[in-house]
Amino acid sequence: MSDHSSDGVSGGVATPQETVERALALSEADGCVVIVDEGSTANLRFAGNTLTTNGVARSSRLTVISVVGAGVGVVSRSAVRDGQLADVVAAADRAAREARPSEDARPLVGMDGVGTDAVGTEAAGWDRPVEPTSIDVFGEFAPALGEAFAAADTSGRRLYGFAEHIVTSTFVGSSTGLRLRHDQPTGRLELNAKSADLARSAWTGVATRDFADVDVAALDATLTRRLDWAKRRIDLEPGRYETILPPTAVSDLMIYLYWSSGARDAADGRTVFSRPGGGTRVGERLSPHPISLYSDPAHAGIACTPFVVAHSSGREQSVFDNGLPLGRTEWISDGTLANLVQTRHSAELTGLAATPQIDNLVMEGPAGGRSLEEMVASTERGLLLTCLWYIREVDPQSLLLTGLTRDGVYLVENGEVVGEVNNFRFNESPVDLLGRLTEVGASLPTLPREWGDWFNRAVMPPVRVPDFNMSTVSQAS
C-alpha cells in the first residue's frame, strides 16, 4: 500500500491560548465563542490479580460557536492544526448564517457580566501551559497495587478493578472578551474483591484528584472484612425492608434526581418536578427532614468548573450561556425543592432564577448525623447495602427507577452484621424516598458506583429507609 499524499496535513500545532485568539480573529460572525479542551488520561485495569489493559492518551478538541443574528453554528473538531483552523471557523460561521433563529439566543456573556473573584482567578491563569497527566501518576500506587495482588494470592482472594486519572484543561474565549480557563483533575480507583470461587464479592471505591491520598492497603482491608461477613449466607424473599444505604448508593440515586431536574422539561409537564395542571414543583416540600441538596464549584475536595461550558445547546444548557459564573446553588433546601436546572432562556420561560448545571453534588441532613457504623450499631433488624447498579428510569412521572444491589447486601441484627443476603432488584423513586427517610447520617466524599464514569464529585450521607422496595431476588453474585 502506498500513501496517497506526501503529507495530508499542514501547519504546526498552536497552544490552546493561541488557538482561541486566532479563531476569534478569523470569525466573521456577529459573535463567537471558542472552547478548547486539552485532555490527558492514564489508566490501569486489572482482573483476577493481574493487569488486563492499560494506557495513556491525549486529546485536543476545538469547538467554535458562531452567532449571526439569532442563528448559531457549532463545529467541533479534534486535533486541529494551524492550517485547518480557518476551515473550522468558516464552517461554524457558515452554519450560523444558514441556521434558523435559535430560541435560546441571548447576548453573549462578557467579562463585565462575569466579574466575580472566582472567575477572575481562573482568568488570571490563562497563560499557563497545559500540564498533562501521565503513567507516572501511578508511580507509588502501582507498587501498592502489586502488593495487594500478592496478598490476595496468598489469602485466596481475587482483585478486580480500575484506576484512572484524567486532567482536562478548558479554555473559553469569546468576542465579548471572555478569557476563562479551568484545569480539572479527575481520578478514581474502583476495587472489587472476590473469593476464589467467585461466590462472595465486595466493592469499594474512592475519588481522588492525584492518587496521593489513595491507601490501597486500607481499602483492601475493608474488602477482606466484608468478604468475611459474607461467609454466612442468608436467603431472604423479596419485600420491603428497613435498609441502610451507604453514601455511594445515595449518590447514584441523587445524581439521577439531579439529572432529571431540568426546568424546561418540568415546565412542559414531562417530569416528576412538573406540577399537575402546569408549572413546576419549585417551592414544594419533598422531605420532612431539613435535607439540603446543592452544588458548589468551590466545595473543598470536589471543586469543579466555576463557569458554564456548553459545547452545544439542549434542554438543559445553552451555548449562549458560555462563561456565565457558577456559584453555590441549592436544588433542595430545608427539604423543599428550591431550584431546577435552568439556562437564561428557560429561566425567562419559568420566571425562576438562571441556575445552570454544575459538576458536583452535595447532600446534607440535619447537623449531628451519625456515621454509617453508628447507624448499623443502632439497627435492630435491617439490610446494609454496598451499592446499586444498572439504574434505569421506569416511569418519568414518579421518577420510578429500577436497578439491582451488588457486591454485598448484609443482614444487620441487634447492631451487628450477621451475614450476607442474596441480591435484589429494586423499584424505587429517589424523590419519593426523600419523603420516607427516617435517618440521614453524616455526609462524606464518596464515589458513585454506577455514574462515577460521568459524575464523580459527590459528598453524600448514609440514609435509613424503613421500607425499601426489593422487588425480586437476583441470583447474581
Binding site: 495513556v56 491525549r58 502501582a142 445547546s313 432488584r425 423513586s429
Partner: protein, 497 residues
C-alpha cells in the same frame, strides 16, 4: 460501490504506521499494531419543530498498541507526524514496562491470516454528511408537524456517524475501512389530566445512508401518521393487572432483551471475569460451553460481523481479524462465545471470531459485541398467528426501560406499547407494564419464533462497556416470538407504598 473518502486516504497513514511499528520493533515489542481513525458525529435535536441544538464533531488521532515482555502497552496521539507516532510507540512500550511487574498472565494472540492492503466500505447510498444541515432540519421539522401537531410536544433527533479506520500491525496486515450509520427518532408527548406519556418511533438505527430517511428500509410517513392515535389510546388505556401472562414480543422490543441477556452474557471476557468489577460477569460460564440449556429448542442465535446494514458489521476488527458469522446458541444450547485474539488463544478456541473494537483512537480495543441475532423459523408463523395462540396475554412493541443484573440473570424491561391479548386477538392497549424474568427461565419459555416475514434488524448506537468507558454500535435481528407464563409488573404499584 462507494469508496473511502479521499481526504482520509490523503492522511499520512502508512508513513505514521511505519514509524510507529518500526520503533516498537526496535524497542523489542513482540507484537505491535497501529490504528489511525477519524469518527465524525453530527447530531440534530428539534423540539416542537424548532431546531434546539446541533453539533458537528469529529475525533481524529492514532493509537499504538504493543505487547512487550508479555504485557500490553498502549498510547495514543493526535499529532499526525512520524515523529509523534514513534514517540507514541515509545510511550506504549514504557507503559508496558511500568505495568509488567503487576502482570501475572502473559499475553498471546490467536493466529490470523495476514491481509495486505485491503479495503472495505459499508453499504450505503447517500453520505449523510453530504446533505446540508438545513435540509435535514427541514425534514425533521416536517416530521414534527403534520399529524403529530395533535400532540402537546414533539421532539425529533437525528444522529449520524461516519467512522474511518486504518489499521496496520507488525505481522503485515493493513486494512482501511469506512462505515456510516444513523438513527432518527421522533417522540410525541401528551398530557391527559394528571397523566402524561410519550410514544416514539420504532424505526431502528441502521448501517445505511441518508436514503433511510427518504424511503429505503422504513416507511417514516406511515409510522408518524399512526403515532397520535396510538398515544391517545395509551393515555386512556387501563393499567395492567400484575401477574403471569403469555407474551408475544415484537422484534422492536425483543432486540434489547437479546442484547442484554444473550449478547452481553456470551462475551467471553465477561465470562472470564475481565469485566467483573464494572459491568459484571456472566452466568454462562466457560465450563458450560456445549452443555448450558440456554433456552428452548426453537432458540438459535448467531453472532455476525458481516450482515448488510448491521451496526457492528465490519470488514476486519481492530485486531486485524476478518468479519465472520458464527453460532452462539444452537437449538437452545450454548455453543459459542464472542472472542478477541487474546481470549481465543487463552481458551484454546483457535481463531478469534473478530469481536475486538475500540470506539476512538484514544481507546484500547476490547471485546465488543457482534450483531447478535435470534434466527427466525424458516417456515415460521406470522405475528398474527403467534397472537392467535394466546388465550390471555400481552403483545409488546418498542423498547423503553431496561435493566439486568451483573451476571445477566434477573432483568426488567418495559416498552412503547402494550396490547392485551384475549382469546387470540388484540383487545386494546395497556399501561404501566414491565416484564421481569431470569434469562434462562425466559428463553426456555419461548414456545415459538416467527417466520422470516416477522424478522427485523433492530439495535443501538451506544452500547457501553469497559473501563475507560467505550460505546459501540450493534444490531440485533429478531423475529416476533411467543413466551409462556412471564411475570408482568404494574409499574405504578411498584412505586407505591
Amino acid at each position: 460501490m462507494r469508496q473511502i473518502d479521499p481526504d482520509f486516504l490523503a492522511l499520512p497513514l502508512r508513513r505514521l504506521a511505519d514509524a510507529a511499528l518500526q520503533r516498537a520493533r526496535d524497542l523489542g515489542a513482540e507484537h505491535a499494531s497501529f490504528r489511525l481513525e477519524r469518527v465524525r458525529a453530527e447530531t440534530l435535536r428539534l423540539f416542537d419543530a424548532r431546531l434546539e441544538g446541533s453539533s458537528d464533531a469529529d475525533d481524529l488521532g492514532f493509537a499504538v498498541r504493543v505487547i512487550k515482555d508479555g504485557t500490553w502497552g498502549f498510547a495514543s496521539g493526535i499529532e499526525l507526524t512520524p515523529e509523534a507516532a514513534a514517540r507514541a510507540a515509545e510511550e506504549a512500550v514504557r507503559v508496558a514496562a511500568v505495568s509488567a511487574p503487576i502482570n501475572r498472565e502473559p499475553v498471546g494472540l490467536a493466529p490470523e491470516p495476514v491481509y495486505d492492503d485491503v479495503t472495505w466500505v459499508s453499504a450505503y447510498d447517500v453520505d449523510p454528511f453530504d446533505v446540508p444541515l438545513a435540509d435535514k432540519a427541514a425534514l425533521l421539522a416536517e416530521w414534527s408537524s403534520g399529524p403529530l401537531g395533535r400532540a402537546d410536544h414533539v421532539s425529533a433527533s437525528l444522529m449520524q456517524v461516519k467512522e474511518q479506520k486504518f489499521y496496520a500491525d507488525s505481522a503485515g496486515t493493513v486494512t482501511t475501512q469506512q462505515r456510516v450509520r444513523l438513527h432518527p427518532v421522533v417522540t410525541a408527548m401528551k398530557t391527559d389530566g394528571d397523566r402524561f406519556d410519550d410514544m416514539r418511533t420504532l424505526a431502528p438505527p441502521v448501517g445505511r445512508g441518508y436514503e433511510y430517511l427518504t424511503g429505503a428500509g422504513w416507511d417514516f410517513p406511515a409510522e408518524l401518521a399512526e403515532l397520535p392515535d396510538l398515544l391517545d389510546e395509551k393515555l386512556k388505556a387501563p393499567s395492567v393487572e400484575a401477574g403471569r401472562y403469555d407474551l408475544v414480543v415484537d422484534p422492536s422490543n425483543l432486540w434489547l432483551t437479546i442484547h442484554e441477556s444473550i449478547g452481553h452474557a456470551t462475551e467471553l471476557d465477561r465470562a472470564l471475569g475481565y469485566e467483573a468489577a464494572y459491568a459484571g460477569t456472566s452466568f454462562a460460564t466457560f465450563d458450560q460451553l456445549g452443555s448450558l440449556h440456554y433456552g428452548s429448542p426453537v432458540m438459535n442465535v448467531t453472532g455476525d460481523r458481516t450482515v448488510e446494514h448491521g451496526l457492528a458489521t465490519v470488514g476486519w476488527d481492530d485486531e486485524g481479524v476478518a468479519g465472520q458469522s458464527f453460532d452462539i446458541v444452537r437449538e437452545g444450547t450454548l455453543v459459542g462465545y464472542q472472542l478477541d485474539r487474546r481470549m481465543a488463544l487463552l481458551k484454546g478456541l483457535g481463531r478469534s471470531n473478530g469481536c475486538a473494537f475500540a470506539d476512538s483512537p484514544g481507546h484500547v480495543p476490547i471485546q465488543r459485541m457482534a450483531n447478535v441475532s435470534l434466527q427466525p423459523a424458516p417456515d415460521g408463523p406470522s405475528t398474527e398467528e403467534l397472537i392467535s395462540r394466546v388465550e390471555r396475554g400481552v403483545y409488546i412493541l418498542g423498547d423503553k426501560s431496561w435493566s439486568i443484573d451483573m451476571q445477566r440473570y434477573n432483568f426488567q424491561f418495559t416498552g412503547q406499547r402494550f396490547y392485551r391479548i384475549e382469546n387470540g386477538r388484540l383487545a386494546g392497549q395497556l399501561r404501566d407494564v414491565a416484564y421481569q424474568a431470569t434469562t434462562t427461565d425466559f428463553w426456555r419459555s419461548m414456545e415459538a419464533v416467527g417466520g422470516p416475514g416477522t424478522y427485523v434488524l433492530g439495535g443501538a448506537f451506544n452500547c457501553g462497556k469497559g473501563q475507560p468507558g467505550q460505546v459501540a454500535p450493534v444490531s440485533h435481528g429478531a423475529p416476533a416470538a411467543l413466551f409462556r407464563g412471564v411475570r408482568i409488573l404494574n409499574t405504578v404499584q411498584e412505586g407505591g407504598k
